[in-house]
Amino acid sequence: MQQTWDIPPPPDQRAPDPATFNGIVVEGVSKSFGPKKVLDGTDLLIHKGETLVIIGRSGEGKSVLLKHIVRLLEPDAGRIWAEGHEVSALEHGPLMDLRKRFGFLFQGAALFDSMSICKNIGLMLEEHTDWPRRRIRERACECLRQVGLEGAEDKLPSELSGGMKKRAGLARAIVMEPQYILYDEPTTGLDPITSDAINDLIIQLQKELGVTSIVVTHDMPSAFKIADRMAMLSRGRIVFTGTVDEVRTTTHPMVRQFIEGRSHGPLGAF
């Protein structure tokens, strides 16, 4: 008989007042796609300046949760707060203003394939500043240097490898010096060396720019390397949050099964 496990409340469930909290508050968010309930009353706190890694099995709704934070998806129930603003209730104008403070690295980089890398990176500056073209290009080149892609500015996305696309996507995410960067599986599909280089970049960006990072991944070596805190999403809820050391030493059966990569346990195999 399959054993069921009580899901303990995450330690940060006693959330502070979201209207005054300096960070992001996810409060009871639920989301279904047809009959499938992906998020089921998810609660999560993201503190300013930390790197929070959200782990969980594929299809558990990690990317869906990330997209809710910037309102690419609307929750069926619950609310999301960012720096005291209720994201899920913002009008178009304030939402756009808030989004300017976010950078987002998509799983597939989502570079605009009809534009050069330079245009991809500089587009946000073109749209939201009155900078001259030369300055925009200089800034784009600076961001490309930061991610180790100098010289790629005039290439098209189709001319780049997977790892280079991810780094170009990261350059685009940091061009406006965002306060928050959301990473959707930044190392998935990359070789171990490129993965490690991306991890170093994430750490470097946090140190140099002081950004708050939310990283969705199931790549455990990466998660342990970059995280300040980790949260595990399972069955639509956050079932565990803790520091890297707490994750390493926890006896929580779901977390243990996940980090040890076992097919037997409360998470099941399929």
Binding site: A110, L111, F112, L123, M124, R172
Partner: protein, 263 residues
């Protein structure tokens, strides 16, 4: 029986809600039009895609449309109608009906497929999401320039088609149908009314909007991967062609039975 009725009901509801969403998208595009000057480079790029990309197709289609119209008209007229009316028949057919409708179907299908496939691919590869995250409204940046480029360029392409089709009709008439050049040109001038040309242009202006909206709407609402892009492209082209034909009938009534009839 119940299942069939339910399927019909579902299709009707989906169709109506789709039309409603399409109208909301049209409203959003129109509301973004005040950014047109700022987006002039993107609009010009799209106009260029329509004009230059469609040129060979327009030339070939138009020449043969004019020539076939001449051949068919001569076949129908030879025993009953004097040949001096050949130019009249060709010019009226081309200006009022063949030019606007054929361009909307031929160039329009190409354009609609282009819009739907391009925007659909952007949707399924999260490029539209990326644009939203960058606080750039895809309706302003992508949809509005494409819409106005189509609305402005389809009439231009239609005028071009009209001219080439008449030239094609002339060449076919004079070279193969034994009609003299003078008789053909006399026929062209006879019964010419500005309202014929104007009516055709008004039609093509509306068709441009229909084609663009179909491509943009289905493209931006694509779901799934490559299969979804294929499906939305096909739906956009079929929807555009059907809407053009229904719109042609309605416009014919409004323009030639009501508006120009009274003037």
């Amino acid at each position: 029986m119940k299942t069939i009725l339910a399927a019909i009901g579902r299709a009707v509801i989906e169709g109506l809600s789709g039309a409603g969403r399409g109208l909301l998208l049209l409203r959003a595009i129109v509301l973004q039009t005040h950014h047109a000057w700022r987006m002039r480079r993107e609009i010009a790029e799209q106009m260029q895609v329509i004009a230059i990309g469609s040129l060979p197709l327009v030339i070939v289609t138009s020449i043969f449309v004019g020539a076939v119209t001449a051949v068919q008209a001569v076949y129908q007229m030879q025993a009953y109608v004097p040949m001096k009316f050949l130019g009249t028949v060709i010019s009226k057919s081309v200006f009022i009906e063949l030019g606007p409708v054929l361009m909307a179907l031929v160039v329009g299908s190409r354009l609609c497929a282009n819009y739907a496939a391009e925007l659909g691919t952007m949707k399924v590869t999260e490029q539209l999401d990326a644009m939203n995250i960058m606080a750039i409204d895809p309706v302003r940046y992508l949809a509005m320039p494409r819409f106005w480029a189509a609305v402005l360029m389809i009439p231009v392409v239609t005028v071009f088609c009209d001219a080439i089709a008449i030239l094609g009709g002339y060449v076919a008439s004079v070279m193969t149908l034994d009609v003299s050049s003078g008789v053909f040109i006399e026929g062209l001038q006879m019964f010419y009314k500005h309202s014929d040309l104007l009516g055709g242009l008004i039609k093509s202006f509306v068709f441009g909007g229909i084609i663009a909206m179909s491509g943009i709407y289905f493209g931006m609402n694509t779901k799934g991967g490559a299969e979804g892009v294929g499906r939305s492209t096909m739906t956009a082209v079929v929807g555009s062609c059907l809407s053009v034909l229904v719109g042609d009938y309605l416009l014919a009534i409004v323009l030639f039975q009501i508006v120009f009839e009274k003037t």
